[in-house]
């Protein structure tokens, strides 16, 4: 770190950008993980801005975290980035790392989708802090996102533990100023303290005082992690990142993350304990605040985790009895705090009857062709977590089942074995979902003698999260043509009996391929090829249009789910079904849906 000619400037950064900057300043060597809203851009910024850091999008979050754990054991600071649902996938790896000896700092940057911006189930990453006994840090703005990232690595090394940096959709998508040193030079940090590091399984043997457990070779890898966490909890009373702001005596609030700023804005006179580290808790500071004020509240996004942990200390605090949690509330806003704690606050309610925007697919998306065929032929199917899941929504009704990422192949197989393969239930999965974990489902159904059909949508990227590369893409951070994996070849090697590859836009061929696969008395895979229209900016064909004289307004074309097809009310109040020619890419799918020949190119 060359400190001599420090030039501090203020830069506007969103939370993701600031975390990436923090990784750079912490001297991180390896960044791995898997995309997921809202934290995907942490990796994008790291890779674009800081070429000294090795970056990879791994096949899934578990693999990503394992890569980071390996790098950390080698002595280098490493980070794994994912969204909270991704940590469910990586949880086993985290359980292995938690409580074990750490060489290079190991930080998990995990995005909680508060407010359900990307529509995921409402999760709270802090549960993993409690479950695995590891620290969780949470920033309130971009400056803190950068600073806490650096701090997280220090804590990881000092207390020999993985650390979770919890960021939320609000942090990730809020831009504010960050002070950075323009002349900061990257310096990779390396620390090789422990020659061995094993998971808690082995150490528990020691803690139970099992016979032979005192062997010096075992003792070498023992770390008393509960003691480390106790030490961290005690030290955290003096951490600068936990700030006690004693003011008025009426209201005291324990808070963290962006709710800290909501609280400060709505309750300027309240005394506040602002936690930069939400786990473990600084007990002394909490007691000090409790003694100072008449009434103590906890204001936290997500689940009632700080609240429960504070109550476990024997301190009474008001939380969810005043601020109900999900599903009554998806995230804190200043309005909610005002409504509950400021007497006579005016209440503002939105206008009624404003129509809702359901998600729609991009014009020309290959997923629409598949949905259309499944629906036309009443083929029952499971969708994976992909752009294609829009087909599950009530305006499309193409799929009957949808669960987690990578699941659709096994879901379909389960349905088929239960129903003796009488009605072929199909699994549709994206290329990303296939490589992530879906490939396991495919191997599983082969050796369990299933006759299921799988549709793999090869659009050369993880489209739903913005087009990151996958193992079969022809681009990527570490891409080399000779390393590109072929979906068809892998399916063949796994033992799939019947494999066809079709271009999505060849509607009749695609229809035939899917129908044949479903009819076959064997397992089968249909690979549907078409690069993602949006990611790869495919050249547009001539726009289609609707002949209003022929259109009966049956709305069959709207049901295909293309963004370009709209029902429009003219100035005279008359409704017309029209194609937006700016958006139409000329794929022709809608014309196959119109029985009245009203749609023409």
């Amino acid at each position: 770190m060359k400190k001599e000619n420090k030039i501090t400037t203020l830069k506007m950064m969103n939370g993701n950008e600031a975390v990436a900057r923090g990784a750079f300043e912490a001297g991180v060597k390896v960044a791995s993980g898997f995309p997921g809203t809202p934290s995907t851009e942490v990796m994008d910024y790291t890779q674009q801005r800081y070429p000294d850091i090795y970056c990879e999008w791994s096949t899934n979050e578990k693999v990503g975290l394992e890569v980071a754990i390996g790098a950390s054991f080698a002595g280098y600071r490493s980070l794994a980035v994912m969204k909270t649902v991704g940590l469910h996938v990586a949880a086993d790896a985290l359980g292995g790392a938690a409580g074990s000896q750490i060489n290079g700092g190991l930080v998990l940057v995990v995005g909680d989708d508060v407010g359900r911006i990307a529509g995921d189930d409402y999760n709270d990453v802090r549960h993993y802090g409690n479950m695995f006994n590891i620290p969780v840090l949470e920033p309130s703005d971009s400056q803190e996102a950068k600073d806490l990232m650096v701090r997280a690595f220090e804590i990881s090394e000092e207390y020999s533990t993985p650390v979770i940096l919890k960021i939320t959709s609000v942090i990730c998508k809020t831009t504010s100023s960050v002070a950075i040193d323009e002349n900061y030079t990257y310096e990779v940090k390396c620390r090789k303290k422990y020659p061995v590091s094993f998971s808690k399984v082995i150490m528990t043997t020691m803690m139970m005082n099992a016979k032979g457990s005192e062997h010096p070779k075992l003792i070498k890898c023992f770390q008393d992690f509960p003691a480390q966490m106790k030490r961290l909890a005690a030290d955290s009373n003096n951490f600068g990142i936990n700030k006690l702001e004693l003011k008025g005596k009426k209201i005291g609030v324990i808070t963290a993350g962006t709710p800290y700023f909501y609280t400060k804005e709505v309750l300027p006179d309240a005394s506040i304990l602002k936690l930069g580290m939400v786990m473990p808790l600084p007990e002394k500071l909490i007691r000090e605040l409790a003694e100072h004020v008449e009434q103590l509240y906890v204001i936290e996004d997500g689940h009632d985790i700080m609240e429960k942990n504070i109550k476990d200390l024997g301190i009474s605090v008001i939380g969810k009895e005043l601020f109900p949690k999900f599903p009554e509330m998806t995230r804190f806003t200043p309005d909610i705090i005002e409504e509950k704690l400021v007497p006579n606050a005016p209440k503002r309610t939105p206008m009624e009857g404003i129509p809702f925007r359901l998600p729609v697919s991009c014009a020309g998306c290959s997923h629409l062709f598949i949905s259309q065929i499944l629906r036309n032929h009443k083929i029952k199917a499971a969708s994976d977590v992909t752009c294609g899941l829009i087909g599950c929504f009530p305006h499309m009704e193409a799929y009957q089942l949808q669960k987690c990422m990578g699941s659709s192949i096994a879901l379909a197989h389960g349905f088929n074995v239960a129903t003796d393969h009488k009605e072929k239930f199909v699994g549709m999965i994206g290329d990303g979902g296939f490589w992530a974990t879906g490939i396991n489902g495919l191997m599983n159904l082969i050796f369990n003698d299933s006759q299921s059909t799988t549709i793999i949508v090869d659009n050369s990227c993880l489209a739903m999260t913005g087009g990151q590369h996958v193992a079969s893409s022809e681009f990527g951070f570490n891409y080399k043509p000779e390393n590109k994996l072929e979906i068809a070849k892998v399916c063949e090697a796994i033992g799939v009996k019947d494999i066809v590859t079709v271009d999505a836009y060849e509607f009749e061929n695609l229809e035939k391929a899917i129908l044949n696969a479903v009819k076959a008395n064997t397992n089968s895979v249909v690979i549907v090829e078409k690069p993602c229209v949006t990611k790869f900016k495919l050249p547009k064909g001539d726009a289609y249009s609707i002949d209003q004289d022929l259109c009966t307004q049956c709305r069959k074309c709207i049901k295909i789910g293309c963004l370009a097809i709209e029902s429009k009310k003219g100035k005279d109040g008359k409704v017309e079904i029209v194609i937006n020619e700016d958006l139409c890419v000329g794929c022709g799918l809608c014309s196959t849906a119109c029985k009245f020949d009203a749609i023409k190119s």
Binding site: T175, F261, Y262, V266, P355, F356, R357, L358, S567
Partner: protein, 201 residues
């Protein structure tokens, strides 16, 4: 009196350049030395979903990234269904700048929901707030595509309304958009000034 800061909501649908709009505006306020927080709420995917940006500048540190309902000074909206969604957030003396452009919602297209019976433009006008309506159809130009550049038109409108330096704003636009788009953007900006002058006269 010196401007101590304002709360602005910028609204519209994906693809209307809302993030570019707030980026350009933030550069202007940064040059003036204000503190800023800009929080983007983007709906499901980039496909015709609603986009909402909370834009706050102040001469003191900005606290909450979200503006409380009732604290909004200006609502700038590029799509009129979205304008309606945020009307209640305005202060009593808050001001609306709205395009009459409308992207029909998927739920109405597929008849899951009924559209509002009244004209949305009328509903905005009847809101009791000071309102400036810009109709892209009435302001078509052969020099640029107003359906794609409403953001720049509105930026100019807002700058004229606030009495800001167009010269500096255009400079920011020049520095921020890719070279081949500069000319079209400046045309759109100039159009925005003339619309604003007509409406404000």
């Amino acid at each position: 009196m010196q401007d101590t800061g304002k709360n602005i909501i910028i609204a519209g649908v994906g693809g209307q350049g809302i993030l570019l709009f707030s980026n350009l505006l933030s550069k202007y306020y940064m040059k003036l030395g204000y503190e800023l927080k800009i929080s983007d709420v983007i709906g499901l995917g980039q496909r015709g979903g609603g986009v909402e940006s909370h834009f706050r500048y102040s001469n003191k540190p900005v606290l909450s990234p979200f503006i409380k309902a009732g604290d909004v000074d200006y609502l700038l909206s590029f799509e009129q269904t979205e304008t309606l969604r945020y009307l209640h957030c305005l202060k009593d003396d808050g001001i609306v700048f709205s395009s009459t452009f409308e992207l029909s919602t998927s739920s109405v297209n597929t008849r899951l929901e009924k559209d509002m019976p009244e004209s949305k433009t009328e509903l905005i006008k009847k809101s009791g707030k000071k309102t400036f309506i810009v109709d892209p159809d009435e302001n078509k130009s052969s020099d640029f595509d107003i359906s794609k550049m409403m953001n720049i038109v509105m930026l100019a409108f807002y700058a004229e309304f606030r009495g800001y330096s167009h010269e500096e704003m255009i400079q920011i636009v020049k520095e921020s958009v890719p070279g081949k788009f500069v000319e079209g953007n400046i045309k759109a900006y100039e159009k925005g000034i003339s619309i604003a002058r007509a409406k404000l006269a």
